[in-house]
Amino acid sequence: MTDWQPGGVLRFRDKVVPDHRPLVMGIVNRTPDSFYDRGATFAVEAALDRVRQAVAEGADIVDIGGVKAGPGAEVGVAEEIRRTVGLVGAVRAQFPSLIISVDTWRAEVAREVLAAGADLVNDAWAGHDPDLAAVTATFDAALVCTHSGGLAPRTGPFRVEYVDVVADVRTHVTQLAERALAAGVAAESVIIDPAHDFGKNTWHSLTVTRRLDELVATGWPVLVSVSNKDFVGETLGLPVDQRQVGTQAATAVCAFLGARIHRVHDVAAARQTVDLVASVRGERPPVRAVRGLV
């Protein structure tokens, strides 16, 4: 790795986050069929409203996605571009200093959304497209390097086994990070993500959560995406619309163990969770500490 300092500066093109402050990334799905919101923000005005809401609730980043992560109807490159580029442009125009992330594994889509003003490519599929890192580097943008358990995009785990799931995650995401550096992505713009539930069963995702400190110890900033996921639901025996509290619990554990970016549906709740945990870690002063001090 370079002489860049871990846990320090994170840069998303011209937007720099100078300190240890954990970031909340609000999910904005421009899809008709994503698992949680099921098309609620498919229309562009609804998607823009969602962005405004996320920003008002304290999101540092919005993550715009045009394709459902799970198996389902095929979405081609042209359609994915249609769903994302216009929205990225509209968000950039209305929020000049907001960090815009686009959830795509395709280099062709990344090229268009970066040209439209995006700052971060959130590749959920472990560098499946070998050109993605280079395209990201061309725009001096940031990149998420994600563990997928070897799966092809939009497939799920089938009886997946690991000798050591955390070691497997660590090996693969650091390889992807090194590959990103070699392709020209700046060191302060590389992020790693263990990708809860991607190529992992519930037990694997719980293990990754419990041992997240081992991924933080690599020195790369860690992004986690636990919001309303099946591992939360299976752990508690709850359907997808009843996982809010479990999501905050998982978020708190990840935050305490050092996660840097939290990708969530409920920005307001995550902001409180992440801020409280940052104060528990001694990295954030309380807003107002007066009781017992007067």
Partner: protein, 233 residues
């Protein structure tokens, strides 16, 4: 209901069971959703295993040995007590130890749960050209894994239902030629883990006839699960 005797007269008995990992104890968590499927498998195995215990010793098969068989990338055998480290599925704080293939671990667990405490042979098979084992064989394999639109490992494949129904019918009818004739390419595309074991069964059964018993056919957890027995003299 366990298939009817008299298995003692059988030259060969093959019991087909699913490879669903939640058939292993504790893997599915506190609620044990596979309890009923496990019970069906154990019931299917009980009479054949009991009859196998009662067989006269000797002959061409190892003394009282039961073979658990599943598809694998290479043909290989393991000793019957070779370990399976379940932390490969459950995670843990240290790396998992050496392990047999998961499908064999599932098959072995069902055989032991059905009361067999005798010797076991474990083997993976890679293709239909290998000679299958003789005697009592427990073959682990499933039908299509792309039956459903939600929650599966891949996009729904509309060919799944018809293919699985064809498998169900040939197993229920003891249709040896039908089992041998299953479309290999389609079975591969549909992620059918039973493809090679069932082909070996068809080859072992030769020209037939076989006595069939279908204990279960369905998709309680997604992939098509079959529990069945074929035996012949």
């Amino acid at each position: 209901m366990s298939p009817a005797p008299p298995f003692v007269e059988a030259t060969s008995t093959w019991v087909l069971v699913p490879g669903t990992p939640i058939l292993l104890p504790d893997v599915a968590g506190a609620s044990d959703p596979a309890a009923e499927l496990r019970s069906v498998c154990v019931e299917e195995l009980r009479n054949p295993l009991t009859a196998w215990t009662a067989r006269p010793q000797g002959g061409t098969v190892g003394p009282g040995e039961v073979t658990v068989l599943a598809a694998g990338s290479v043909p290989r055998t393991w000793s019957g007590d070779a370990p399976y480290d379940v932390s490969r599925l459950l995670g843990g704080s240290r790396p998992a130890g050496p392990s047999i293939p998961l499908a064999l671990a599932v098959g072995r667990h069902l055989v032991r749960a059905a009361g067999w405490s005798g010797p076991l042979a474990l083997q993976t098979v890679a293709g239909p050209t290998e000679p299958g084992p003789a005697g009592l064989v427990v073959a682990v394999g499933d039908g299509s894994r792309y039956r459903s639109a939600e929650g599966g490992p891949g996009a729904q494949d509309p060919r799944s239902v018809a293919f699985d129904e064809q498998v169900r019918r040939v197993l229920a009818d003891g249709d040896v030629a039908g089992l041998r004739a299953l479309d290999v390419e389609l079975a591969t595309a549909l992620g059918v883990t039973g493809r090679v074991p069932w082909r070996l069964l068809a080859d072992a059964a030769g020209g037939g006839p076989v006595e069939p018993h279908l204990g279960f056919a369905g998709d309680p957890f997604g992939p098509y699960a079959l529990v069945a027995t074929w035996w012949w003299r």
